[in-house]
């Protein structure tokens, strides 16, 4: 009965602004598994330790797409250190709270991000 999507989630899902893949990205990361219903890929342009551009590609439900878009917006302009501290809860909160059964979608976003940052460090 509390399993509603917020208006913010729905709007972001319907008009995501950060879709796509950055060519010659400085970092890319992936998380999820199509058999579980969600796959999320994130690509970042990083300059002087600051994320200049973030784009996503997502296979998944409304919450997964909205979370991905929210995450990209949050990332742009943040330092890597700031980015590392973003939690699923932060994303969910920005979206006006995801339904409990969908919280994993926001966590998936942070996993993809961590993977991207790891990938960046290894470069």
């Amino acid at each position: 009965m509390d399993e509603e999507y917020s208006e913010e989630t729905i709007e972001r899902f319907q008009d995501p602004e950060y879709t796509g893949e950055i060519k010659e990205a400085d970092a890319t990361g992936k998380a999820g598994n199509p058999s579980c219903g969600d796959v999320l890929q994130i690509s970042l342009k990083i300059e002087n330790g600051v994320i200049k551009k973030a784009r996503f590609k997502t296979y998944g439900c409304m919450a997964a797409i909205a979370s991905s878009d929210e995450l990209c917006e949050m990332l742009e302009g943040k330092t890597i250190e700031e980015a590392e501290e973003i939690t699923g809860e932060d994303i969910s909160q920005e979206l006006g709270e995801l339904p409990p059964v969908k919280h994993h979608c926001s966590i998936l976003g942070t996993e993809a991000l961590q993977n991207a940052l790891e990938n960046y460090r290894k470069k």
Binding site: V39, T58, Y59
Partner: protein
């Protein structure tokens, strides 16, 4: 500008619009003929008369006797009563029940609960089109079997089982087994004849056939041994207590009557639109596949298509923006995380199951709705595929 107004309601498998004629029949029973059908005075008699007339109407649509119909609050209640009521009543004869892996949750969860109470349940598998294998049924049924419950028209993939054959096997292979079918999706949309098909128990409901929500019925063949599951004042011959939902029953019966009368015409119309939408989609959009059977073995109003690489809920969400209303599967589990069990049973991978969309039509569905859908679908699928990392 006018274009924007087209709405396509393609979720008739979840629920339907009430037929305005049914609503019209219901109206007097809210504020005028509002009596309790069990009261002996005039207001009670009015109500009783309406209920009994409705009972006959519904009985007629499935070739049953009026006495064999009892009214419930819906398909879920009828399924619960059919399974639990026969299980408890007949447990002395055996504690074995047979059903399938593609039942609606109302049957499936009732069966699971009965397992917890000490019954043994065999879940039959299905082939890649969703059909039960009659050989497997023969193997499963024996004299310890007290009930076989097999869904008639599947709610997700539209597969119509051959009830007659399955019911006959049930009766041939067990002296103690009743045959129940959940016919919520198939009722008035394909043949349903309790005599011809040899059925003992049949679940139907109102809101899938343009009747009001909160109405259902269970056909119980005469002399079937069954316990009530909702105790109380002893209504419905002691089989289902609770004040009768008179206006609901009247609307249910009127909707059933109209649907039954125009059955062939409705089937033809829905089949034509169904096939137009299926073929149009498969042709216009690559990497798509129909789930479930084709042609006459499929419910005339059911479409289920796998759109590779895009997730079903997201797809329905984008279609919603174009005023096209469809669901991924059974509405009750919309927010569930598990991929559809039915789709997996017919051989889809988890990813394919997650990438599927159900579109279900009704007798009210128009050419315009189908054309609108065919026009918008490719763009929406494209947008989501662009967004997909797969």
């Amino acid at each position: 500008m006018t274009e924007k107004k087209v709405e396509a309601y393609l979720d008739n498998g979840a629920t339907t619009k009430v037929d305005p004629d049914a609503l019209k029949e219901m109206k007097p029973y809210f504020t005028e003929k509002y009596g309790n059908s069990e009261s002996l005075h005039k207001k009670g008699k009015e109500a009783k008369k309406a209920v009994e007339k409705s009972r006959r109407t519904i009985a007629d649509t499935i070739n049953a006797d009026k006495k064999e119909i009892i009214f419930t609050s819906g398909g879920t209640e009828s399924d619960n009563l059919a399974l639990k009521g026969t299980a408890y009543k007949n447990k002395q004869k055996g504690k074995h029940i047979v059903t399938t892996k593609i039942e609606h949750d109302a049957v499936l969860q009732s069966a699971k609960w009965l397992e917890e109470q000490g019954f043994e349940v065999t879940y039959l598998s299905v082939d890649e089109e969703g059909f039960v294998d009659s050989e497997e049924l023969k193997q499963a049924v024996n004299d310890r079997t007290i009930l076989v419950s097999i869904i008639h028209g599947n709610n997700e993939i539209g597969t119509i089982q051959d009830l007659k054959t399955l019911a006959e096997i049930t009766h041939d292979y067990s002296n103690n087994a009743y045959f129940h079918t959940d016919a919520c999706q198939s009722y008035t949309k394909t043949e349903l004849d309790v005599e011809k098909q040899n059925l003992d128990l049949v679940t139907i409901n109102g809101h899938k056939i343009h009747g009001p929500k909160g109405t259902g019925a269970l056909y119980i063949k005469e002399n079937t041994e069954i316990d009530t599951w909702q105790h109380g004042g002893g209504h419905e011959n002691g089989l289902r207590s609770g004040t009768l939902n008179v206006h609901g029953i009247v609307g249910f019966a009127e909707a059933a009557k109209k649907n039954h009368k125009n059955k062939q015409k409705n089937i033809q119309k829905m089949t034509q639109l169904r096939d137009k939408l299926i073929q149009g989609t498969l042709k216009k959009i690559d990497k798509t596949k129909l789930n479930g059977p084709e042609g006459e073995k499929r419910l005339p109003n059911n479409i289920n298509i796998c759109f590779n690489n895009i997730e079903g809920e997201a797809l329905s969400g984008y279609l919603n923006r174009k005023n096209i209303y469809a669901s991924t599967g059974s509405a009750c589990s919309s927010l569930e995380l598990e991929p559809s069990q039915v789709l997996k049973e017919i051989g889809l991978t988890d990813q394919e199951a997650n990438s599927s969309l159900r579109m279900t039509l009704s007798k009210f569905t128009t050419q315009e709705e189908i054309e609108h859908t065919l026009k918008e679908l490719p763009g929406v699928v494209n947008r989501l595929r662009e967004m997909s990392p797969l």
